[in-house]
Structure formats: structure tokens, C-alpha cells
């Protein structure tokens, strides 16, 4: 790995374990250049990570509001070749063991020196070289280049055809006006379709450039944005199990009910995993000791012959949401004003993922009585 190679790194930390001094020390080292992104909560991290996965993640295992182990699992589900360095004090040996079991690549125990960090990084570089060997081999590179070229060729045809048709429409409109000898020209439709052509070209730039970029980074085998088939009940069960230690610590019973043993679902696995994590985490966050959380998954329920839906209800008997806040809880950056650690990305992320899967999300809440979030995800039958 050469010195001019850039490592994209994400630091997930709500308590500045990994402060800017360390970041500067790392950049001064003889190792490859590092570009940092920072996230102070799980939701914020996932939002950054899903847009463009990082190669290296420093994760503080002692996040106050988030389940760091669930986050680690989520990251490894989406991008296996991302290295996660767990940061944790020796007192929390259980968390460190949990991180190692969930494929963390390295552990840093604070307080750590620049030398510790440098060693961690050199181990990371060695692992990356090893991964490159595993993923490499001239055949797989040739195959993925071919796949990517196929996709580029398909998309180019698609966008250019669309742009061509829009221009044809523009031409049609201009001709019509010429024929009618309009005294006063109505520019509106012309401007409208000219804008459409512009939009298509933007699509072209964004998507083709994005694909080329991905192709160069050899991410084809490991694209987190791909849809695939998985058992959503098994996933829900796993997420609930991950939260059991926190629930027993807070003395909040968490009950899971499903109408079927397994349901095959087609979607973005990493996104759905994080959606489930987010919902349950939220319920735990806003429930006081002794309150109960009920998670139910029903379905698929038939809408018609072809389509049905899975219904997920996450109900808590926690603090509830005030009626004036309720319509805004899915807004981007809306933090509810309840705690300082709330970034306002969690429920926004939930809604975004549900909408991308053609689903709907509903919320009912009564202050002091609790909140129920219901999600309906359509499935092919």
C-alpha cells in the first residue's frame, strides 16, 4: 500500500475517547494518509456508512445511547472487509469479548499513545493487503470489471435514450409554436423540458461517475446497496437478543411475538437490520425501569393475489410523545429536545428505509402511556 493511498476512516464516539490530538498524530505518521469522518451516535454513523462505506472504523464500545455491539454487527453485515477497531476500558471486559466475537479486528484500551495507534494502523494496512489478495486474483478482477462495464453500458443507453426523447419533445413543442405563428411565445413548456434534459444529464453524471468510482474500488462483490433475500424473523430475533443484556440491566422486559417461524424478505439487509435496531433502541431509550416493550411481527397478510405485507409493531409503555411533537418525529435532524445525545437521525433513517422498501410507517402515542410504531413492508407472494 503506497503512502499516497488514502484511508477513509469513521470514528464513532460520543465521548471523545479518540480526540483530535490523536487524529493529528496519525496524520503525521509514515503510514498512508487518513481522512476522518465523525459520528456521535449509531444512527448518524449508519447514515454516513451506508452512503459510502469506510475502510476503517474506530468504534467506542461504551456508547451511552447506542448498542455498540449491534452497530458493529451491522457494519460487518454491510461491508465485511471494513476493519473495526473497538475502543473500550479494561473494566468492560464483557464488551471487549463481545466485540471480538463479532469480528472486531483490533482493540484499543484507553488511555492510548500515538505509538499504540500507529501499531493498530500498521496491522490494519497488513490486513488490507491480505484482503486484497483474497479478493484479488486476475480472474475475479476481470469478472468484476466486465460486470461494471456491462452496468455502465446499460445505464448509458438508458440515460441517453431518455435525454434524447426529452429533446425530441422539446423539438416537437418548438415546431408546434412555429406552425401556429404564435405572436407571443410561451416559454414555459420549453423551459420545463430543458430542465428535464438537465436532470437526466445530472442522473448520468451522478450514477455513472458513482459506478466508475465503485468499480475502481473493487466493491462489486460487496455492495451494501444491493437487494437480497433473507429471513426477516431470524433477523428480528437476533436484534432482540442483542438488546437483552441492556434490557435486563434497565429492568425492562422485552417480549417478541411472531406469527411465523420464518419469513423470507427481499430488501437491503443492512438497512433493515439497522432499522430494527433503531426502533427497539428508541423504545428502550424512552422507557423507565420496569416498563415493558412488546415487539410483534405479523404476516405476510394478503393485500391481493400478488402482494402482501409484513406488519411490525414496536410498542412501549414509556414516556410517550407530546401531540405537538408527534407529526415531526420523522423529520431529518429533529431531536425532540429530550436528551443531549439525540441526533435526530434515527427515526428519519427508519422512515427513509421504509419508504425505499415501498412501505409505510405509523406512530401512535399517548404522553405517559407509551408509544407504538407500526411498520408495514410489502412483499411479493
Amino acid at each position: 500500500m503506497s503512502k499516497d493511498f488514502v484511508i477513509r476512516t469513521l470514528i464513532i464516539d460520543d465521548a471523545d475517547v479518540f480526540d483530535s490530538v490523536a487524529a493529528e498524530l496519525l496524520n503525521a505518521s509514515a503510514l498512508p494518509r487518513i481522512v476522518f469522518d465523525k459520528a456521535s451516535s449509531g444512527a448518524e454513523a449508519m447514515l454516513q456508512f451506508t452512503t459510502d462505506p469506510h475502510q476503517l472504523v474506530f468504534l467506542n464500545l461504551e456508547l451511552v445511547e447506542d448498542n455498540a455491539l449491534a452497530l458493529l454487527k451491522s457494519i460487518k453485515t454491510m461491508s465485511w472487509f471494513t476493519d473495526v477497531v473497538a475502543m473500550c476500558r479494561t473494566e468492560n471486559i464483557q464488551l471487549i469479548l463481545g466485540a471480538m466475537r463479532n469480528h472486531a479486528s483490533d482493540v484499543l484500551i484507553p488511555p492510548f499513545s500515538a505509538q499504540d495507534l500507529e501499531q493498530t494502523l500498521s496491522r490494519f494496512v497488513k490486513r488490507q493487503e491480505m484482503y486484497a489478495n483474497i479478493q484479488g486474483g486476475s480472474q475475479s478482477i476481470a469478472d468484476s470489471v466486465e460486470n461494471r462495464l456491462k452496468a455502465i453500458s446499460h445505464d448509458t443507453k438508458n440515460y441517453i435514450s431518455s435525454a434524447g426523447q426529452s429533446l425530441e419533445i422539446l423539438e416537437n413543442e418548438i415546431l408546434k409554436r412555429k406552425r401556429a405563428h404564435y405572436g407571443e411565445i410561451d416559454w414555459e413548456p420549453l423551459l420545463f423540458y430543458a430542465k428535464n434534459v438537465k436532470d437526466i444529464l445530472n442522473f448520468c453524471l451522478e450514477n455513472l461517475a458513482g459506478q466508475l468510482d465503485q468499480g475502481l474500488r473493487q466493491k462489486i462483490q460487496n455492495d451494501p446497496l444491493e437487494f437480497n433475500e433473507f429471513d426477516i424473523i431470524a433477523m428480528l430475533r437476533e436484534v432482540c437478543e442483542d438488546f437483552l443484556p441492556i434490557c435486563s440491566h434497565k429492568q425492562i422486559p422485552l417480549a417478541l411475538e411472531t406469527s411465523k417461524e420464518s419469513v423470507s424478505y427481499y430488501g437491503r439487509q443492512g438497512d433493515i437490520y439497522h432499522l430494527l435496531t433503531n426502533l427497539i433502541q428508541n423504545s428502550i431509550k424512552y422507557s423507565d425501569q420496569g416498563k415493558r416493550i412488546q415487539v410483534c411481527m405479523d404476516g405476510p397478510i394478503h393485500i391481493d393475489e400478488n402482494v402482501g405485507y409484513i406488519e411490525l409493531n414496536v410498542a412501549d409503555s414509556g414516556r410517550g410523545i407530546a401531540p405537538d411533537i408527534l407529526p415531526h418525529i420523522f423529520d431529518k435532524g429533529f431531536a425532540g429536545g429530550s436528551t443531549g445525545n439525540n441526533t435526530g437521525f434515527g427515526l428519519y433513517f427508519v422512515k427513509k428505509v421504509v419508504e425505499e422498501h415501498n412501505g409505510e410507517v405509523f406512530v401512535t402515542s399517548e404522553p405517559g402511556q407509551g408509544t407504538t410504531i407500526q411498520i408495514k413492508l410489502p412483499v411479493l407472494l
Binding site: 443507453k157 435514450s161 437487494f227 400478488n306 402482494v307 411479493l380
Partner: protein, 144 residues
């Protein structure tokens, strides 16, 4: 197609409900333009962003003509038309499939659709496919 037949067909278009399924909004806008130039009414045209959303709109909107892209996220065009044809109520709906795929793939779609449009295409290509598919659909409807 004979111009007289086209004129006859055009008289039916204002009452025909059309569903456009495409993951690119600019394409949907283009199709809407071509359709309204042909005499279809804007309020009778609906759209969906992928095959699954298309299927979700099917029962409620009851389209008589579907113009769909092949390559889409979630559920692709081919999977969607296969499902539609397997549903008795929609066995006769007119379907035009749009694709940029290579020729060998077209054979897979042929049994399920009345027309296939290969990218890149012109406005006239779209019009021809719509006339052709509607002629077939309306003839069958009149027989019934």
C-alpha cells in the same frame, strides 16, 4: 397501422387508465407527454417507481395499459408482468415493456407483453407500440 383505425382508437384513449412503472422520474414525465399528445387524459395516468409499487397500485387503480421499464430496484419489470399475467383480473391488460437489455433477454418477456420498446427509441416508436397494444386490447374487450 391505418390512419382511420388510429383515429378510431384515439377516440377511446380519454377513458383509458394508464400505469407507468419506471424508477427514473424524467422517463415518467416523457411518457406522460407522449400519452397526453395521443389523447390520453392526465388524470387517468398514474405512475410507480418499481415493480412492487406497480403491483400495489394494480387493484386500486385498475389500469388498462401498463408501460413498464425492465430494470428496476426491488421487483423488476419482468417479475411484475409475470405476476400480473398470473392474476385472472389482469390477464388481458395491455403491457408494453421497455428495455436496454440485449436481444436474448427479450424472449423471456415476449409471452407476457403486447409490445417491447428497445432503448433508444423515438416518440413515434412509443406511439406505434401504444396503438398496437391498444388495438389488441380493445378488440379483445369488444369480443367479450
Amino acid at each position: 397501422m391505418d390512419n382511420k383505425l388510429k383515429e378510431l382508437l384515439k377516440k377511446q384513449f380519454p377513458s383509458i387508465r394508464v400505469l407507468i412503472v419506471d424508477d427514473m422520474m424524467p422517463n415518467i414525465k416523457n411518457h406522460k407527454y407522449v400519452l397526453s399528445e395521443m389523447g390520453f387524459v392526465d388524470s387517468n395516468i398514474s405512475h410507480a417507481k418499481d415493480g412492487l409499487q406497480g403491483l400495489l397500485k394494480l387493484t386500486k387503480f385498475q389500469p388498462e395499459l401498463i408501460i413498464t421499464d425492465w430494470n428496476m430496484p426491488m421487483t423488476d419489470g419482468l417479475k411484475m408482468v409475470q405476476k400480473i399475467r398470473a392474476t385472472k383480473a389482469f390477464a388481458d391488460v395491455a403491457i408494453i415493456m421497455i428495455t436496454a437489455e440485449a436481444d436474448k433477454d427479450l424472449e423471456q418477456a415476449k409471452p407476457y407483453v403486447q409490445g417491447i420498446l428497445k432503448k433508444p427509441y423515438t416518440i413515434k416508436d412509443v406511439e406505434d407500440q401504444v396503438f398496437f397494444a391498444m388495438a389488441k386490447y380493445l378488440a379483445k374487450k369488444m369480443q367479450a
